[in-house]
């Protein structure tokens, strides 16, 4: 895993932006800002799906394994 990304949080942010972009009273500056942020999010989420790997660690059991 190259970067510590929270897929769920980013995905939720993208959903919010998409909903905002559907408003018809949106200021053009806001719309542009949302649009650019949306493109960044799509890229980051795609990268996550392509590259994120799982990490497995064994914890030493504290119980007696006699």
């Amino acid at each position: 895993m190259t970067k510590k990304l929270d897929y769920q949080a980013l995905s939720t942010e993208l959903d919010t932006i998409m909903a905002e972009l559907q408003r018809d009273d949106l200021d053009v500056d806001e719309a542009l800002k949302h649009y650019e942020r949306g493109l960044t999010l799509v890229k980051e989420l795609e990268a996550y799906l392509e590259t994120a790997e799982n990490k497995i660690t064994e914890l030493k059991a504290t119980f007696n394994k006699a």
């Binding site: 972009l21 053009v28 795609e46 996550y48 790997e53 799982n54 119980f63």
Partner: protein
């Protein structure tokens, strides 16, 4: 019968001590399988019972803490214990551990325990908590050598990434299994930063192999876990009490992995649709902005045109008024302007007789001399 003079005599206490020494030497522990009979609990603490077969019966003594769950006479039990001759109560086997044996007894024990724990509310739907989807950190309780472990990690890796999986390796069958599984659940719960979900899995096996997951201690530990739990034991048809007590029951270890994380293939497709939609929405917003700008330009043009038109009509009115009020227009109506010889406009008739004045008419001018007043 005459006493053998050569044989040493011992006291009763010495005999008991000697016999126990011999028993200890011969059987540091012994595991006996037999049918439960005369089962009774005394003072909520001590347990007395017999194990018997067709020909023999042996007494056992233990504590309620060693019980695998509720028991009934007639069940087949596997008991590990130490044979002892008690100084007052005679011979019995002191229980070290005990478990039901054989499919029928295991099923019966599980049924009795299930009935007891159901009454306590351990399996109530209202106790079930949601499991984070997908979790960022999983606490896995299983045997690392098992097929269940291999299946689970394979599916998680195939579907998703970025998950931290902490594993505690436990025995999933045999006598130490319940204590180890409980220990692992408690260890995860006691961590400063516990995982978001505890996953307890084991592959298929005989009822006896899966028995650890229907013991009272494991079932209670699953129900008591502060961290939400997913439990998958055996195949789809096997249903352990730990699964009933879990927040989520998965049919198999692979199914547990599927329930825990989304499939990245499906998410990629969804993301591609979202990206298309984002482009479309961006274009729609820009188009709307452009339309709004064009509307504003049009109305600006209209405003300026209207303004010019209004001003122009005001000027035209002024022009007409000016034309009407001009001296030329007055002269045209027959008036005349009379000026003194010095060129000053005369507004009064008080002038000397014989003075020369200039008279201007609409069309030309002449000089004149004044006479006496009439």
């Amino acid at each position: 019968m005459p006493l053998d003079a050569g044989e040493p005599e011992v006291s009763v206490s010495d005999f008991v001590a000697l016999l126990n020494q011999a028993l200890d030497y011969a059987f540091p522990s012994v595991t006996i399988v037999g049918e439960l009979a005369n089962f009774r609990v005394s003072k909520n603490r001590w347990v007395y019972f017999d194990l018997k077969d067709e020909f023999c019966s042996v007494k056992f003594f233990g504590t309620v803490y060693q019980l695998p769950g509720p028991l009934e006479d007639g069940m087949l039990l596997r008991v590990r214990g130490q044979p002892k001759l008690h100084n007052l109560y005679g011979f019995s086997v002191n229980v070290l551990s005990m478990a039901p044996a054989g499919e029928g007894s295991i099923r019966k024990a599980a049924d009795l325990l299930q009935a007891k724990l159901t009454t306590e509310g351990l399996f109530d739907e209202g106790r079930k908590r949601p499991v984070p989807y997908p979790p960022k950190r999983i606490g896995l309780v299983t045997s690392r050598q098992s097929a269940a472990y291999a299946d689970f990690t394979k599916i998680i890796n195939a579907r998703w990434g970025g998950v931290q999986i902490d594993v505690i390796d436990v025995q999933v069958q045999g006598e130490p299994a319940p204590a180890q599984i409980v220990g692992a659940i408690e260890q995860f719960n006691a961590l400063g930063e516990p995982p978001e979900v505890i996953v307890i899995i084991r592959g298929g096996g005989s009822a006896e192999d899966l028995a650890a997951f229907s013991t009272e201690q494991v079932t209670r530990a699953v129900a008591a876990s502060r961290v939400p739990t997913i439990v998958a034991i055996g195949h789809e048809v096997d249903l352990s009490l730990a699964e009933l007590a879990a927040d989520v029951r998965a049919s198999t270890p692979s199914n547990a992995a599927e329930l825990l994380v989304p499939d990245r293939k499906a998410l990629k497709a969804h993301l591609a649709r979202q990206a298309d939609e984002l482009l479309r929405l961006g274009a729609v917003q820009m188009q709307a902005a452009r339309q709004l700008l064009s509307l504003k330009t049009d109305s600006l043009h209209q405003y300026i045109e209207d303004l010019i038109k209004t001003k122009r009509s005001v000027y035209q009115t002024y022009q007409k008024l000016l034309a009407v009020l001009s001296p030329e227009a007055t002269l045209k109506r027959g008036y005349a302007i009379v000026r003194s010889n010095g060129g000053q406009v005369l507004r009064s008739a008080k002038i000397k007789p014989g003075a020369i004045v200039e008279v201007q008419l609409a069309d030309g001018r002449f000089t004149a001399q004044t006479k006496e007043k009439p």
